[in-house]
Subunit: 225 residues, 2 copies
Amino acid sequence: MPKQTFFNLPEEKRQAITNAAIDEFADYGFEAASINRIVANSEISKGSFYQYFEDKRDVFMHLLKVLEQEKMEYFKGKRPPSNNLDTFQYFRWMIKAGMEFNSAYPRITQAVSRVLLVEGLYYGKLFGDYHQKTLDALAMMIKQAIARGEVDPSVDVDLAVMVMETWSNAISTYILNEGLKQKDMMKWVRSTKTQQKIDKLLYVMEYGLRKTESEFGTSFKKERI
Amino acid sequence: MPKQTFFNLPEEKRQAITNAAIDEFADYGFEAASINRIVANSEISKGSFYQYFEDKRDVFMHLLKVLEQEKMEYFKGKRPPSNNLDTFQYFRWMIKAGMEFNSAYPRITQAVSRVLLVEGLYYGKLFGDYHQKTLDALAMMIKQAIARGEVDPSVDVDLAVMVMETWSNAISTYILNEGLKQKDMMKWVRSTKTQQKIDKLLYVMEYGLRKTESEFGTSFKKERI
DNA sequence: GTAAAATGTGACCTGTCAGTCATATGACCT
DNA sequence: AGGTCATATGACTGACAGGTCACATTTTAC
């Protein structure tokens, strides 16, 4: 957690520092991120930085908090389109709403996901708690899905969590990487083409790649959220 | 590519350098890997290092080559148990054979996959060619599967490639991370429990998480490779 | 045996890093 | 005005990075 001095700062200065940190982590990841550059880009002195934060981890933790708040704010008004969604529909809605958020705040999303997804694997101890929260939420979802008879009870919960997390990360990473190449990411994410791509990916998560007797390939067009 | 001087070295010394490099990349990834440490651990001088290699990328390229050769060697004798496997059975065999290899050569696997999977995302240009090879091979496989009627023709090939690559990476990463915690990784990988876990994951890739009329959860036990 | 070519070496270069600290500034209180 | 206390600063430290180079040693060629 940043020190009190940081929060005493005028809003403007705090923003400048936060933005510089976002850019730094987004561009370099955690390991290679340089406090010297953050300091230079936010036009504060090195000494001041250490009055505000303990160290690199501390400033990144601040970004996690900021992201969390932005998300809370963003999702405040949003509700799923219906209360009767099954788990897969709900997951689909969640993914899509998540993508909307990401395209609205692409840089901080990039910064955090780069560090957590990628380097988090190897610096597990630094951000392990944060990861565990996500896993717990997904496990809850799966258990509910099993209780509702939407997922087979013989499915291992941990395994299903891994599958959903893998999908969620893969889709996010894919969309984020592609989206950052566009000039208007938000518009691109909302385009039917992109939405269909997401639909297809989620469809494969539900029904798999294997050709079955079911209406593979056509059902995308039907009643999707 | 390493310089000629490197290949003139006595086998023993070359091994020492290679092993030190493997340890370094496995422990620190590409960015944080230190040439100074490699040099210290292989007991050569800094100057010598630069007689053998251009730079850090060069020594990593050498590891890629070594891995490729080891794999060739390893798979030389191995053939799928039958010539009539469908694409999914073949993929399953490939993944499992890959796991066997990984558990036989865990350190170099860890080194290479850490760098390619994780940092490769952000240093795409450094190792992009290598990645493209994998994608091409998978695309070929999918097209064949579609031609054989095993995968629906309406499936987007690139999308299917992404799915298979994601799965393959997810499984590899999972197995490697868990396996490295065991005292005998090879034994652990070969255990029925682990094999079943892999089966289940691949099953989900084929048929998805969604509960269907099919015999989900029981079919693992049936005629798997 | 000797000259030439190849290989080996580590001190040294420049640059960057995280982190510290003596000192300066300025806001607020009495 | 004088005193106090939070905040701001950037030169400085020591560690380590990648990379170079003049020189020492060994191998090869004749």
